[in-house]
């Protein structure tokens, strides 16, 4: 048996499709409850709709590279396995690494029609089980860490808000270096173009506070300008 005989079977498509429907269902249940809770704590429907539109607008462009990795993995591993992995806990780098590592353990390499059916099964195991370990972490660790914050809130709410602002500034510093300044001649340039565009829009918005659209679409505009610049520069 060769792996191409089993890697695109109908039941695998159905399995992945149903699993993704379950993921969407989890999101919808969370969102419905959060929407009701938002009303209770005084959030306006317009504010919550803003959350929806930002979540969508910010996610379209960064999802396209995931799609490109899917297209590149499909000839190698079939459709259902990369579809599952890149939709759930997927990252382009991680999935290729996991498949290559699994095949490496069996002395095989990730090439089109270049490995055995046992290699494909091994890749499916390592990609799926290895990748899913983070779900166990989140199930076990999220609650205790959240409880620490909740206890602190009861002691001093303003202190907790300061901690939140501190965390946000630290995260922004990390992403600036990790996704920008760590490779200044490539992604650093794109990051800086986006930052300067964003800074310019912040400046204009501060001068014209009535132009609310500017704040709403700041990230999208900065991202598109930097992506166009990347096409011109590289």
């Amino acid at each position: 048996m060769v792996y191409t005989e089993i890697c695109n079977t109908i039941w695998m498509f159905l399995w992945v499709g149903l699993l993704l429907l379950a993921v969407v269902l989890q999101c919808l249940v969370f969102m419905k409850r959060a929407w009701n809770h938002g009303k209770e704590i005084g959030l306006k429907p317009a504010q919550m709709k803003k959350g929806l539109t930002t979540g969508i607008s910010v996610s379209i462009m960064p999802t396209l590279p995931v799609l490109m990795v899917l297209l590149s993995l499909m000839p190698l591993l079939g459709i259902p396995l990369p579809w599952l992995r890149l939709s759930i806990i997927g990252s382009a780098y991680y999935e290729t690494y996991a498949a290559s590592t699994a095949l490496g353990c069996l002395g095989e390499t990730l090439q089109v029609n270049g490995y055995s059916v046992d290699g494909w099964v091994a890749a499916a195991w390592v990609m799926t089980v290895g990748g899913s370990a983070s779900v166990l972490w989140s199930s076990l660790a999220t609650k205790p860490i959240s409880m620490i914050y909740e206890r602190a809130e009861k002691v001093d709410m303003r202190l907790v808000l300061s901690i939140g602002s501190g965390c946000l500034a630290g995260v922004m510093a990390y992403v600036s270096v990790s996704y920008g300044f760590s490779a200044i001649s490539t992604k650093g340039i794109v990051f800086c173009i986006s930052f300067v565009t964003g800074a310019l829009l912040v400046y204009i918005h501060n001068r014209r506070p009535k132009a609310k659209w500017m704040s709403d679409y700041l990230m999208t505009i900065s991202m598109l300008v930097a992506m166009i610049a990347a096409c011109i520069i590289f």
């Binding site: 969370f30 462009m61 939709s87 069996l106 370990a133 300061s162 829009l201 700041l218």
Partner: protein
């Protein structure tokens, strides 16, 4: 207050149960393949692969959970860990939302909006990838065109530049406080071999210390003014 804690309890209960159910469904996929075709892997040969794959990502789990908890809250984190891409998709969706609405991080409003923004982000990602599966063949030449390839290669730094600008340029003080963790990250990135997951935590800890000191200074000033 009682209702709020009930909501929080529900978030954890539903988050943990649904995550574990999805974990079982995910891991059952290769188990079923092996059972259907009678092809069980040689686990003695394969275990280093499992360890290598888990160890690659493991340092980021505590870093992301601790670092992002204040901004995203538990509900958005439960959802985000199912679909991954926490740093490059879910966190920007949340921060973009709270920036444009002027909501403070680590508040109930912030965590509620985070669930809505992350949920929308996850659903749109799942839909885009599903559409990609359906129209893979005609889509490939467009997405893989050399002319627009750099745009997708650099989409993440392009996303973060604007996000960072919007977040740290709210005032002079915020920008100055941002420079300290930025310097720490730059130092670790260029002068050490420390994994980025660890220096992320160090930068966050330093930034939190700065904000706590600022808070204490403000509190002391207020107290001394009240005494006068």
């Amino acid at each position: 207050m009682k209702e709020q804690s009930g909501y929080q309890r529900w978030i954890h209960k539903f988050g943990i149960i649904s995550s574990l159910l999805l974990f079982v469904a995910m891991t059952a996929f290769p188990v079923t393949i092996s059972a259907v075709y009678g092809l069980w892997p040689d686990f003695k040969a394969l275990w280093p692969g499992f360890v290598a794959v888990i160890l690659l990502m493991a340092p980021y789990w505590p870093a992301e959970t601790i670092g992002y908890m204040s901004v995203m809250g538990p509900g958005a984190l439960y959802m985000s860990y199912i679909t991954g891409n926490v740093t490059n998709l879910r966190m920007p969706a949340t921060v973009g939302t709270i920036n444009s609405l002027g909501v403070k991080p680590n508040t109930d409003e912030c965590h509620t909006l985070a669930i809505i923004a992350c949920g929308a982000s996850i659903i749109i990602s799942v839909v885009i990838v599903a559409i990609g599966v359906i129209i893979a063949a005609p889509l490939a030449p467009v997405l893989q065109s050399p002319v627009i390839q750099p745009a997708f290669d650099y989409v993440v730094p392009a996303l973060f530049g604007g996000l960072v600008a919007q977040t740290v340029l709210k005032g002079k003080r915020q920008f100055l406080y941002f420079l300290a963790p930025l310097a720490i990250c730059l130092f670790f990135c260029y002068f050490t071999a420390v994994n980025s997951a660890y220096y992320m935590l160090i930068a966050i800890a330093a930034s939190v210390m700065i904000y706590i000191m600022d808070y204490q200074n403000g509190k002391n000033k207020n107290e001394s003014m009240e005494k006068e």
